[in-house]
Every structure is written in C-alpha cells, then in structure tokens.
Amino acid sequence: MKITNEIILSHGLKIDEYSKIKTLLNRDPNFLELGIFSAMWNEHCSYKSSKIHLKKLPVKNKYVIQGPGENAGVIDIGDDDAIVFKIESHNHPSFIEPYQGAATGVGGILRDVFTMGARPIALLNSIHFGSPENTKTKSLLNGVVSGISGYGNCIGIPTIAGETKFNRTYNENILVNAMAVGLANKNKIFYSKAKGTNKSVVYVGSKTGRDGIHGASMASEEFDENSEEKKPTVQVGDPFTEKLLMEACLELMKENSIISIQDMGAAGLTSSSVEMAHKGNLGIELNLDKVPCREENMSPYEMMLSESQERMLLIIEDGKEESAKKIFEKWDLEFVVIGKTTQTNNLVLKFKNEVVASIPIDALSSKAPLYDRKWNKKKVSSKKVDLKNLESIKFDEAFLKIVSSANHSNKKWVTEQYDQMVMGDTVERSGTDAAIVRIHNKDKAIAVTVDSSANYCKSNPKTGGKQVVCESWRNLIAVGAKPIAITNCLNFGNPENPEIMGEFAENILGMKEACEFLNYPVVSGNVSFYNGTNKKNIFPTPVIGGVGLIKNLKRIQNHRFKKIDSQIIVIGKTFGHLGQSVFLEELYSLQDGPSPEVNLTNEKNNGEIILKLITSGAINSVHDISSGGIILSLAEMSLSSGIGVKISKPNKISNIFEYFFGEDQSRYILEIDKKNYPKVEKILKDNGIYFQKIGITQNNLFELDKHLKISVKELYDINNKWYNSYNGFVS
C-alpha cells in the first residue's frame, strides 16, 4: 500500500513526523510499521508535549521505592509492606460508550497495579460531567457509575473514595479517572525491564480481537463532528477474566519464573513489547502466527494495534514455561510463547514465515519526538469580588441552595452502587475526607483520597496546582494519616494551543512547589491532553490521588461530630476569600476573581499540629475546610452524625457571607470536648497556630446566630434529594 499524506494524517502523525520516521528507518515504512509508529509516537504513549515539564516534579522521599516511569509508583510502609498505586484517565472512551469506557478504565488501572506484584486493595475514581441540564449528562452519569461499579464489584476490590462533579466545561468531554492501590511485599516487586537474550516472551490472558484499534491515537486527538464515524470497535470489559488473570499472575509471582511483566494497555502488544525491550536495552522478536485471536483473518496490523482488554506480556526464565503454563491453565487462560528477546535492539515481527516489520526499538522510544511547545503565561485577575455588585440574597437561602445543588448533594446514589466492604478491611468508606483501608491482619492502615479544583486551576493554574496538592494533603491529615506520596492525572485541553500549554506548564510549577514543600512527591501519574471539542477546551483539571500512612489504627479520626456541647474551633486564618468560590458559582453562575492563595508554611504547620492532636487523642472530630467554606464543612459534620451546632461569627470579620462561604486555604474545623479544651488551646498557642472559637455542638438544630436555623433531619433530606429526583428512581 502506498503511504499517502492522507494515510499519515489519519494516523494522527504530522508530515514532519513522518519525515523523521523515514530518516530513522533509512527507508519508507510499510503500512504496519506506520501503524506501530503512530501508536508509539502519539501523545498518550510518548508524552511528547508533557515530558519536559513533568521532569520538574519531585519524585523522591525516604518512602519512595519506585517513582514515575514504571506501571505504577511504589512506596514503603514498613514491615516489608509496600503500597503500589496509580491513577489513569479513560475520558474519550467513556464519552463514546460510558459503561464500557469506565469499566475498561478500571480494568486498565488494576492491571497496572497487579503487574507489579501487588494485590489491589482499593479503587478510587474522579468523575467529571457536564452540567446536569445538558441532554447527555444523565445517561453519561448512569453509564459511568454503573461501569465503575460493574467492573470493581465483580473483580471484588472495594471502591472506597472518589469525587463526582458537574460543570458545563465538561459538556462535550467528560472526565473519567480511575485509581488503584495495591499491597505488595517490598522485596517482591515486579518490573517491566527485560533481561537476557533468547528468553521466552509469553502472551497471557484473553484473546486478541479488533477492539479499540487506534484507541491510543484517539485519546490524543480532539473530538469533532466526525468522531462518531472514526470510532473503532469499542472495547468491552470482562472483569471475570481480569479476576482470573489477576489470580493467575499473583500465583505465578510466588515462584521465581518471571523476569519481567507488562500489561497490554494503550497500543496493546506494540507498546508492551517495545517498553520491555527498551527498558532492558534489548531487541524483541514476535511470531504473530502464535498470537491468540478472537476473530478470523486478523492482520498483523490489527494484532499489533488491538487494545483488547485483560492481556499481559511476560518474559519467563528458561525452563519455567511448563510450570507457568500450568497455572494459567488452572485459571482457564491463554498462555502462549509468542517470541523471544534478542540482541538486535530491533522490534522484529514475523507472520507466515516472512518478516513483516523491523524497527529499531529506540526509534519507537527514546528517539520519539519531544516538543517544547510554545506556552503563554496566564493573565491572572487580582480584582477582589465585591459583594455590593451582586444581587442580595438571604443567608439561609444561599446555604440551602448550595446544600441541595448537584455538586454538594449527598453522593450515596453513586457510592451505594460500589461494593465498599469486600476484602473486609475498609475502616472508613466514601463520605469521609479520606477513606481508610487496613493492611490485612495488621494494626496499620493507609488513607487514600482523590481531589481536584478545576475552577481554581482555570483562573490561576499555578496557585491551583499548589492548592490541589495541599487539599489532598489536608484530607489525609484530617483522618490522622501521615501523607506520603501522590499520583496525578493531568486532564487538559489541546497542548498545541499556547494558552492551554501555559495552563499545563504553570500548573506543574504550582504542584512542584507544594510537593517539594510538603515532602509529598509524585510517584506515578498520567497525562490526558486534547480534552475538548472544536477548539473549546475543558478547564485544566489535574486530579491528585494521595496516599497516607496510619501506623496505629487506634489513632484515627473522622469528621462525624461525637457529642453535644463540645467546643468547635476553626484552625487557620479566615479572610473571606470568595474568588472562584462555590458561593459565586452556585448562586450567581460566576467564575470570578482570583483563586485562593496557599501559604505553604501555614499549611504545613497547621497540618502537623492537627496530626499531633489526633495522635494525642485530644479531639472528638476534625474536618478540613474546602469548597463551600466553613458553613459547608460544618454541615457535612452534622449531616454525617445527626448532631447540630450553635455557631456565631467572631466579630472581627464584617461580612457573614465572606466569613462562612469564603474558601481560604489551610483550615480545619475541630470538635473538642470541653474538658480537653484548655489542653488543646495551650498546644495551639504554644505552637503559634491561629484559631478561632465559633460555637458548640448541640442536639438536633443547625443554627447560626439569627441567620440560619434548621433541624439536622430536614437538612439531611434537602441534601439527599438531588440524585434521586434527577435520576428518577428511589432505591
């Protein structure tokens, strides 16, 4: 087949990229080779637009065993235990087919984690939809949530935390990010690096079909009117097979048979084989006649680019093939030797006794294009929002409107579709600042959370990047965990647009600053560009997945009020920052003013003291203050416990809206037994921590001076209405 410009472009390659291919090969590629290049050189696999920026992020602290660059990050949590985790996007497939897109997103991230020798112990997700009024939103919401639940429940890993948000910026491009967390023995971590020549390359798992051919390049393109037609065969998830694959891999890992292992994710057989060879500085030769196929007459092109799910590639020690095969047969899975490692440093593909492709590995990996794309610095607004210019509203009306809004309603409708208890170690489920999973049969645990703040990042990508890292840190602190490390999923628009590239570059700088200051490095992550349609890009939406360590399960905390007549205090300074707040968004549909700044010194000091107080057992409950300000945080504490509050505004700040809806950072609310209060007050003062007394807990009534008075029960009903009426079912 003659390779025309049209064919090149339809593979998502630029003409100058094609010239580079010819130079690297010293000849024209054939059609199969072109397909392989397109898969490896697209944004999703090559990180060509993001790499130079990602390098700036800190990736190490004393806990990190493996940073970015492997299937997932690994941290040390003591006693030979290691936690393996990563987050990944599945945005475009989920927009096309929400159930299968979300399901296969969960499946993909799980493979990244058990590939490294870890048994997955928790799933999280961050899902962003368009505005609820948008005609597509309802079915996307239903499809995505049931896809996540369908896959996670079936494979038997608890889905215990996440976030569900609505914003018109996602009307034509939803976000579905899934995170998996696994537990491994730190001396038995498995990597993708191939070692030794002439070793067997083994294909295991499901058969290969024509699914998702070009899925990776689709993830690297904008949507347009024609996307529907360009649609490849949709990948269907098979959680049952994944469960078998997981058990078989974990069983095989107990023996010393595996040299290296890599899941087949985006760009399937191509990227997995190239990755293994590249890391090991070797070549690889595959005999495509051996690839187990689901359909008849599959071509080498289809086999190499298929994104069929639930498959893995292994390199096995000499003489271990038979015993390894037995394990996969026990689990009714394919196990076929399809090739070997070589010295050539080439990817060589044979089919029907002919060499059908031969490409130097480095041409596909280290020599792939890298771009330092042009980027513009954001012009940031610094004009403070003036309430005088807004139509006036009564405080209680404003509050109830927010509590009943799509974004701030109780998310039980979502979380009750997820099995949160399977595996028997879920100490805190969804609904808390961070979920907690016990390490099986031990007295320690990890805390996990995912967070994002698109509005803040849109208005000021740098501050936003800082803020979202701090929010993640704060959520872990609030349950009594020491924050250890993060994974991030960077969902952005089109990087060829200098404004968007600027959002990305500055966002990274902000994240870097916070991660460094808090000693909270990035150990894995994923970049998803081209989120948008026809030049309309989504708000920059970095999603942070945080993991913290709890050494002693007797010293944990949550945000549920425990008693009436305890003291309530706010830690951290309240200036009344309303820029980019929920208050403006929900009540005035305004995204206005600057994002809240984070003072990293205060963040760190406040957090460390909270952790100390939790460990000392001196407080009854704690909650971080995030979107919606003090009043929303108080409401969440009341709603989850049934206990009310009697609150007054401290005199200093004049405006009640600013004080209670303001979104200043680095703050927490504490509930303290009156008898413990003097002790806590002393600790805070001795450490120079700013705090204010704002009221006490009381029976039943949620009350703020003369501005608000409602029973907690009534508040609960208001908070629980939205999802059920939107979806039209009552459960």
């Binding site: 087919e97 159930y99 499901s206 649609k231 065969t233 949709v234 269907v236 098979d238 097979t241």
Partner: protein
C-alpha cells in the same frame, strides 16, 4: 399490536458472557458446539393498530433506550 425485538452484539465486539457460557457447555461435554453468542430479547405490546406506525414506535424505543447502538444491532418482528 405485539412485536419482538432481538438485540445482538455487533460482530467484532467481545461477548464475555457468550464466551463463558460456550466454554461451560463444552466442558459439560457438548463437543459439537461451535459458536455461541448471547443477546437480549424483548416482547413489546403497544396500542397502535397501524402496522407502519407501530413499527416506527418500536424503532424509536430501540434507538432511544433499548439498544446501545455503539455496540449492538437490533431486529424488530411483528408477532
């Protein structure tokens, strides 16, 4: 008027259910089984006497709710 709707997965789309059912039958000794695919079936009765109109309504039901056109095909038949 009463219709049946048969919904099947498109040809190249993976059918995990069908696969497992087929394997189970083969394990049970049904050696002659060559291929099995699973689909959905609906029996729908509507108050409409004009056959063309009725068919049209059923078609709408399929396109708007019953069928996932991205991965499924359907066939309507009058009963």
């Amino acid at each position: 008027m009463k219709f049946s709707v048969i919904i099947t997965l498109k040809k190249d789309v993976l059918d995990p259910q069908g696969k497992v059912v087929q394997q189970t039958l083969q394990n049970m000794g049904m050696d002659s089984l060559r291929n099995l695919r699973q689909g959905k079936y609906f029996e729908i009765e509507i108050n409409e006497l004009d056959e063309d109109k009725a068919k049209n309504i059923i078609e709408q039901m399929c396109e708007k709710l019953l069928v996932n056109l991205i991965i499924e095909d359907y066939k309507i038949k009058k009963l």
